[in-house]
């Protein structure tokens, strides 16, 4: 995905194409339920997987997923195409996931990157257990299974996992991920780079 192709300029986007997400959302805000159906069909899978990767529980993921869409429905009137629809939608999902973890015991998606962001948390990364690299050869002997991939992603630190999922599964550019997560683009880039590195080592030949 070209990261700069749909970058907003001067805080506003060019007039959306009729079939673009932004146009569909505006149409839905004007009362076109069919536009919402198209939007939903287009984003339901990636958004659900994003939530599922974060909470790692299907029941909770469906609940959060539904909440995200309800929030989007409620906020339709205030939607303005100053940014891409996906950015707006995943921002809603990010906030809902953060709320979910807070409700579950104050877990925060603190960055556990390698210290490129200068917050001194890079040392923690080395202390974390790796993604079961001790068994990669036996588990990817016949090709990497979906279970192993999911486990590998789940083994990622939450911040890296979120950035990786948004970047790979939801195919969002780093700039959008930075907006969604409220981090800098370079931070997001580091998280994605670390996630890739750990998955490579975790999956090995399973790719």
């Amino acid at each position: 995905m070209a990261d700069s192709a749909r970058e907003p300029r001067d805080g506003a986007l060019a007039p959306p194409a009729p079939d673009a997400d932004e146009a569909l959302m505006l149409a839905y805000a004007a009362g076109d339920a069919a536009a919402f159906d198209r939007l939903y069909a287009r984003h339901r899978g990636p958004l659900y997987r994003y939530v599922l990767r974060q909470v790692r529980d299907a029941g909770a993921a469906e609940e959060l997923f539904q909440d995200v869409w309800m929030n989007a429905i409620r906020a339709r009137a205030s939607y303005a195409p100053t940014a891409k629809f996906t950015t707006w939608l995943y921002t809603l999902a990010h906030h809902r996931v953060v709320d979910h973890w807070r409700q579950r015991g104050g877990v925060a998606l603190v960055s556990l990157d390698d210290g490129d962001d200068g917050d001194g948390t890079g040392a923690l990364v080395d202390a974390l257990p790796g993604p079961r690299t001790d068994e990669p050869e036996t588990r990817v002997a016949s090709r990497m299974t979906a279970e192993r991939v999911r486990e590998a992603i789940s083994a990622l630190p939450p911040a890296q996992r979120e950035a990786f999922v948004l970047h790979v599964e939801s195919e969002l550019p780093l700039a959008d991920i930075a907006r969604i997560t409220g981090e800098g683009v370079e931070t997001v880039k580091s998280r994605v780079r670390y996630a890739y590195a750990k998955l490579r080592s975790a999956l090995g030949d399973a790719r």
């Binding site: 899978g45 869409w69 991939v149 590195a197």
Partner: protein
Amino acid sequence: MSAGRDDFRDDALARAVREHGRETPGAKVDDAIRAAARRAVGSQPRAEPALAEAREPWRWWMPIAAAATIGAIAIGVIQNIPREAIDPGVVSDTPATDMRAREAATATPSETRPPPSRAEPAATDAKAPARDATSGGPGTGKRDAAAAPGTPSAARTPAPGGEAPRAAVPAFVPQPPPVLAEPPSALPSAKPAAPPATAAAAAPGAAAELEPKRRAISPGAPAPDSADRAAAPAPPPAPAQAQARTQAQAAKIAVPESRTMAEGRVGVDTREAPPGSAGGGSPALRDRLDSGAPRRERASTQTGAGAPVTDARRAAEAAPATMSPPRLGASASAAGKSIDAYVAEIRRHLAGGDVESARRELAALRSAHADADDRLPEDLRRWAAGIPR
């Protein structure tokens, strides 16, 4: 983002992740979210727009159906309106006696002018004779004119006192002599008054007209011969009512011949009007009634003898009940003469050898009844077959 900055990307790993990440929400979650979205915008499910489109034709053909219904109702109402209300001049198949009975029910005892609505057509009655002439009915003026070219020129002479426009109407002028002697059914209803003596002298046919009327008034009186009738001046003054009646008749006879002939022809229409019903009958009759009253006054003032004549006429018009029997008899069919009466008259004339009178009666009968020949007895029907209409 440049390619160099994206050097951490691993397309094979990303593809593997995407291939194995196929989780999707449950169908219940999908339905709940879609339903919430539809409820939020207040729209119907997806199938509803299709239903709305299916109902859309109602939106345009409903007004058309309503208009068609209204039109059908209007046509039905128009069809049920009595034809008399639409066109009083329409000839009806109803026997004349029935029409007379209906019109007599609406007639007032005294002579009244027709209501303005009915007098309106009379104002344009100059066209009525032409209409009659072109209608091709029995006894029309054109046919009569062609059949009787030798009509006295006096018949075409315009009447004095502004009668020229009337006499100038071609349909009235060419009235053959038999019509002159026809039972003057229309005469009692409206005739301008004129000096009896001078009028009778001026109009050669006036005396001849007097006789039928006299016979009508007094059916039992013997008819004087035609020579006496032609030479007869105004009837001598008679005492009391008979005198007044005679004067009234003389005043009627004194009408210029052209007018008399015209009225003789129009008398066909007059028979269909009830006595005393000035507004009934054909437009020609109404026109004559409308224009007759002032003419009477003019004639009276010109001759100076208007007082007794107009008095007699007023007496006759003011008491239609008392005058009706003689008028009915005089006009031979002016007020409901039955076919039997016509037949009796024809037989009587034929028995007396007066074929001309019989022909006149037959003409009157034909004028009064379209199917006169069919209703005649067999012997008279054969006789009537030889007499052209």
